[in-house]
């Protein structure tokens, strides 16, 4: 099952697309709710801290070469506790995938196609994701390479064409907020941006061709993703102003509405939305991939293909009920998600690392 290998370059593209993911849609809103015009500083600090977090992931990748997160769990915590931890991790990525799917449905129903039931878009989106999973990681990686260039071109057009609307006075005064709000909002930023990258540990040491090169690429990927998001936040605040960007649900969509070149090129937000579909797709695919592969390995199955269709069906059904309304989701994001993401993105890798080091020390003492 694990004969599929992707190259370090493809891995970097996965990291970039995954970390930008759905974050690009609403991050400016939740960050400027916390920090107002200083939101971009929180994002920059968050990116820096994310690079430190990547050091932890790289250390884990070095200690357990050729292992996925599920196998690491079983090695460190023993067979049964390891399996339980793995199952809870699978639930983490599965429920987040379902929430992401309902986000896709909500976004389309609210902003673009209000008369189409969101269930239809959710089912269609889930179908292409299941198709991608069934075709395998290599196919996904190649399509990521193609679509990534699309994404970058759209992003550059997006940023450049908004330049005329920039007003510098919107981000002044700088550094008005205190230390604690800054820490809090950079944690918030990380919980959307880099802590979910723990699912990449299902791919990273095990299915990447050149592990040494991939370590470097993990850094570069996080750096590029963080820079893109920070640019986006600065731009949103400079164009819309802190109040308006905090009040919007999808500020980058209203930003795209502002694009106007020479009085004839306007209302291009639907084209810009392609950018979000690309990143959302890969975020969703990686979450679902982690859940499927994780479940197959926890149950020690040799073939994950038969699991994809039933799991996909459960995912779609779960996404219908998991998110009853927008208020529920924003409360969940504020009250639960940060701690939930911290416990899997930071605490679990940290436990794995210390557990393995303790194990080595105890074994070393026995041998003496």
């Amino acid at each position: 099952m694990n004969n599929i290998k992707i190259s370090a370059r493809q891995f970097a593209i996965f990291v970039i697309l995954f970390s930008i993911g759905s974050t690009i849609l609403y991050i400016s809103s939740s960050m400027s709710q916390e920090l107002r015009q200083d939101a971009w500083i929180g994002a920059a600090i968050g990116t820096g801290l994310s690079l430190l977090l990547m050091l932890l992931y790289i250390a884990i990748g070095r200690i357990f070469p050729n292992m996925t997160l599920v196998k690491m769990n079983e090695k460190v915590f023993g067979k049964w506790i390891g399996k339980l931890v793995s199952l809870s991790f699978i639930f983490f990525s599965f429920s987040t995938a379902a929430l992401l799917l309902s986000d896709v449905g909500n976004f389309l129903a609210i902003q673009m196609m209000p008369e189409t039931p969101s269930e239809v878009t959710q089912i269609l989106f889930a179908c292409i994701v299941i198709m991608g999973i069934r075709l395998g990681l290599e196919t996904l990686a190649r399509s990521a390479e193609i679509l990534f260039s699309c994404f970058i071109v759209l992003f550059i057009i997006f940023v450049v064409s908004l330049f005329p609307h920039v007003e510098l006075k919107n981000i002044q005064p700088i550094f008005e907020s205190g230390i604690k709000p800054l820490v809090r909002s950079s944690l918030l930023f990380m919980s959307f941006f880099s802590l979910p990258l723990v699912v990449v540990l299902m791919i990273f040491p095990a299915s990447v061709n050149q592990p040494k090169n991939a370590e470097k690429k993990l850094f570069i990927g996080v750096l590029i993703g963080g820079t893109c998001l920070t640019i986006l936040i600065v731009l949103t605040i400079m164009v819309l102003g802190p109040d308006l960007s905090a009040a919007q649900m999808y500020p980058s969509y209203s930003l795209a509405r502002k694009i106007e070149v020479g009085g004839f090129l306007q209302r291009v937000e639907a084209i810009m939305a392609a950018m979000w579909f690309i990143t959302l797709y890969f975020k969703f695919v990686l979450y679902f991939y982690a859940a499927v592969i994780g479940l197959a390995q926890t149950l020690s199955l040799n073939d994950y293909l038969p699991l994809t269709l039933p799991l996909g069906m459960i995912l779609v059904l779960l996404s219908f009920m998991i998110n009853p309304n927008v208020a529920f989701e924003s409360a969940y994001d504020k009250e639960v998600w940060i701690v939930y993401a911290l416990s899997y993105g930071l605490v679990l890798p940290f436990l794995l690392l210390t557990g393995q080091i303790l194990r080595k020390i105890i074994q070393g003492n026995k041998n003496q």
Binding site: P181, L309, I322, I338
Partner: protein, 77 residues
Amino acid sequence: MLGVVGVLVVAIIILVKEIPYLKKKKLKREGWAFSILLLFAVGLGIAQSLHLNIPNPLNGLTFIFKPLSKILNEWLK
């Protein structure tokens, strides 16, 4: 009622698609996992289309993580 029929039709399509593959490769454990998951999916789908009251798993998460998040928020206030 239409929802129940829809769920069953999807389940039958999945069965028709996967059973030959499972048989051809003689995957026994995979077959078990596949049928249990599919059974769960059909049960969930029928319960949803009959508008039964299904607990939202995120409420459970809220119950577990809300105290921790309160501590974190107090500390960072």
